[in-house]
Amino acid sequence: MKRRDFIGRTSMTLAAAAASEAWLTSVLRGQASAATPDIFGTYFGVGPEEMKRLLEICLSRGADFADLFFEHRVASSLFFEEEKVKAASRGIDAGVGVRVVKGDQVGFAFSEDLSMESLSTAARTASAIANDAAAKAKVMPIGLAKLKNLYPIGDLATEADLNRKLGFINEANKTARAYSPKITRVTCSFNDEVKYLAYANSDGVSWTDMQPVFVFSTSCIAEEGTNRQTGYESGGGRIGLEYFAKKRPAADIAREAARLSVTLLEAKDIEAGPMTVVLGPKDSGVLLHEAVGHGLEADFNRKNLSNYSGRVGQRVASDLCTVVDEGLFENMRGTINVDDEGGAPTSTVLIENGILKGYLHDRISAQAMKVNATGNGRRQSYAYSPMPRMTNTYMRPGKSDPEEILKSVKRGIYAKKFGGGQVDITKGDFTFSVNESYLIEDGKLTTPLKGVTLIGNGPDVMTKVTMVGNDLQFADGGWTCGKNGQSVPVGMGIPTCKVSEITVGGSKVKA
């Protein structure tokens, strides 16, 4: 139960010193400063001396590594329905996570009280994981690294006047209601946050970062007689309010939600069983997240728990598939300037032309498997210790024209929008739920279909990818990945893909 991995849309959550130095260098190579350098002083009132003292307590029982993760998160939201702002909300979560590592063993404690007394207690609690009087790890001198800023912000949502956010909500509400007389309810939410982070570890690595992220969403109900359907769409990323002018107007998000709810009024049942499925671009990246990404997180693999364990170098997908995890795309939801334990984000090729190339690592798994860390050590907040997580996961584009892909299907399903997915890491069996899909008949989209679940086995389905489009696009909106009780924002992208056969969970049986 604890081990279920899922993804959903918000609103519906070392090999020794050498490798450690390698990532330190890549962090230091950055140019522009990601955040004001005084986050430590402004939000936490601690300096290098205090951090060194705390880290020394952490190592006092013989651990070989320790880190301090300071977080001050400001979050704001507006909830709008029935032409009214029903609730405005704002709050602050602040605390420090203290982690002590001995080999692959972790001691962890956190405190919301930032006094040296409370932090020292937390450090002593976490240090209890080690009991090795002979070990002599030392805290290195702490130097503040400069990070390259991958989320330049024009207009930080969390600090903006609420009336400006209300402007986007009003625009979306008006657009959705004007879309069709069948639209009977419109709900809009603006959820934004900014995290001021400060970090220091016993290797002497220290940085500060400001991580903003927002999700703007519209949900519509369309009615016709007793038939009632919902449509949902969201947009955002690690970007400011300039998103609406530069990337996508609020009206566009609203129109999409309205269109989906009205379209679903015509949706029909589909029979259960295996079918050819064409996955549309953008949101079908859920397939990669579930069928590939989770199974390649190295914590599962170093413990030999994943169906991909020990399969590096083997074929796990058709030769059309190259799958990458990359936390480096500017302003994208899964992007990070630095991972939550000081690792530089990278572009990690997971599958290249169908062959498994490697895993997603955090510090502990990289050390245990004696490879370089990939900068995927992420945590939900100060209250959790990091583990290997995806950032932005995507498939490189292929050569096929998306039209040609559709035309090649006599009868099948075109899947466009998804509610989420989940995977059994060990077996590799995944499911994902499709919110918008159409029947393909003789190469053309015909009837819209009621929500269905698609199920399959990771390598099996990836091997059945028979065409890959040239139209790679990234999903917008609030994809959130959950693992072992921790939620982190992620991004995903995929070109149009044809899978020769996936089992479709319809509610009819073929006559």
């Binding site: 139960m1 604890k2 081990r3 899922f6 959903g8 979050a75 507006l78 009214k84 702002v85 609730a87 405005a88 909300s89 704002r90 709050g91 602050i92 979560d93 602040a94 605390g95 063993q105 972790v106 962890f108 404690a109 405190s111 919301e112 609690t125 976490a126 209890a128 994981i129 609420l162 009336n163 009977t184 309810r185 009632r228 359907q229 029979e271 259960a272 069983g273 413990k303 728990l305 169906n307 209250a383 210790s385 997915g421 989940q422 060990t426 077996k427 499911t431 994902f432 739920s433 929500g451 269905v452 679940t453 199920i455 086995n457 089992t503 969970g505 319809g506 509610s507 009819k508 049986v509």
Partner: protein
């Protein structure tokens, strides 16, 4: 120990002083301990003390919420001032407000909330229990080849609520849990499964041996799983999955979902929405239920709420807002975290036990599916339609013939619940306050090869 009653009432006074028409203040503070072991080795030890304070402010009919984890006087006053600032962009809503005074109160009957004995369990003993569950599970069958972690966790959770109508209430609960995940392998195919026990009182937990053996039984029973053809068959629902299905009814009965028309139960009050064998209750006063509580997140005195009786939908589950709005009774069935306002949340939610032995239910099925797991997504709360990935056992002539995987089940929950033809006598709270006995649904669409 900090006096959070005083803090909460002080903040209520501060909000009134700053101009709130009405307000409530909710404080949650927790202590948590957890450990994970794998293959006999400790992998993780975690310990924390945590707290948060949230306030809900009404002014001129509009509502705003703010929260903080910093309880310093300056921070709390600042967040109170922010509440009165941001409430200005909120719009008046005639149904906003606190719960009516006459509904407020603290249930004074006996409730098993806090187990003093948990604090005295030594850390070594907790680690040993996790180790024991893992070891017994792994040794019980040679096809079990790996462990996916065993763990122990325990904690305390204290709620303090004060409102501008003078309600002040506080209670604290304990929790403790033990779990183990195992991997079994046969013919090069791996399967994983787990078992667990979470309770408020440590003496109600399954023993490490029971947890380990059940995890082992479950994971080995999956070995050799195959697909089946798409077909319509009877479905026997394992209690762990039946409990998820009744959760869907609870959510759909929420007054908020109803006025938003985002529920398949809109317009169904007084109608048969399930078989006469089905009665579902949310009972916050069930003394030994793991979800019991003396009052809800609005300070409403706890009571027993039988919302589905003999298949008929008797009431929606209303917080004070939806109660005023729908003109229906307030049910006192809300939960809350410090970051948000009251929301519909189960206390002890259960489908009342029937009289059938679960073994007899399985025996009564000539050919059908026993549902063991289903995927989280795939339920549409507006229509009640569902389509889930599933695993389980194929039943032939009343017996488990072989395990099945990579299949789907799909249909509509009302149709499925109307088709319930047997309810088991095996009602038991295993992990938290939601429980159901084994159910038999006469037909369901299975999707497969």
């Amino acid at each position: 120990m900090n006096d959070y009653r005083q803090l909460a009432t002080d903040v209520v006074a501060e909000l009134k002083r700053q101009g709130a028409d009405a307000c409530d203040v909710f404080v949650a503070n927790t202590t948590d301990f957890s450990t994970e072991v794998r293959l006999g080795r400790i992998e993780k030890l975690e310990q924390s003390i945590s707290k948060g304070l949230g306030m809900r402010v009404f002014k001129g009919g509009a509502m705003a919420l703010t929260y903080t984890t910093d309880f310093a006087d300056k921070s709390v006053k600042s967040i109170a001032a922010q509440a009165l600032d941001i409430v200005k962009v909120s719009n008046p809503d005639e149904f906003n407000g606190l719960a009516p005074r006459e509904s407020l109160g603290v249930y004074d009957g006996k409730l098993m909330l806090f187990d003093e004995s948990i604090a005295s369990i030594p850390t070594d003993r907790k680690i040993d229990m996790a180790r024991e569950a893992e070891e017994i599970g792994m040794k019980s069958d040679k096809r079990i080849t790996n462990s996916n972690t065993a763990g122990w966790s325990d904690g305390t959770y204290q709620v303090t609520l004060a409102t501008s109508d003078g309600f002040v209430g506080q209670y604290r609960t304990t929790n403790a849990g033990l779990y183990v995940g195992l991997i079994a392998e046969e013919g090069g195919v791996k399967q994983t499964d787990s078992w667990y026990s979470f309770q408020r009182y440590a003496n109600k937990l399954l023993t490490p041996k029971e947890v380990g053996l059940e995890a082992a039984r479950r994971v080995t029973s999956k070995l050799g799983a195959r697909k089946v053809k798409s077909q319509t068959v009877p479905l026997v629902v394992d209690p762990t999955m039946a409990q998820r299905m009744i959760g869907a009814f609870f959510g759909a009965a929420s007054g908020r979902s109803v006025y938003r028309k985002s529920s398949f139960l809109v317009g169904k009050l007084g109608e048969a929405i399930a078989s006469p064998l089905v009665s579902i209750v949310d009972d916050a006063t069930l003394a030994d239920g793991p979800g019991c509580r003396p009052f809800d997140a609005e300070g409403v005195k706890s009571s027993r709420v039988p919302f589905i009786e003999k298949g008929v939908l008797k009431s929606y589950l209303c917080d004070s807002y939806s109660s005023r709005r729908l003109k229906m009774p307030l049910t006192g069935t809300t939960n809350r975290g410090y970051q948000g306002g009251p929301n519909i949340g189960a206390s002890n939610l259960f489908l009342m036990a029937g009289d059938r032995d679960p073994k007899d239910i399985i025996k009564s099925v000539k050919s059908g599916l026993y549902l063991r797991t289903m995927s989280a997504q795939g339920f549409n709360p507006v229509t009640g339609d569902f389509s889930h990935g599933a695993t389980g056992h194929w039943i032939e002539n009343g017996e488990f013939a072989y395990p099945v995987q990579e299949i789907t089940i799909a249909g509509n929950v009302i149709t499925a619940f109307k088709n319930i033809t047997a309810v088991g006598n095996d009602l038991k709270f295993r992990a938290g306050g939601v429980a159901s006995p084994t159910l038999l649904i006469s037909e369901i669409t299975v999707g497969g090869a």
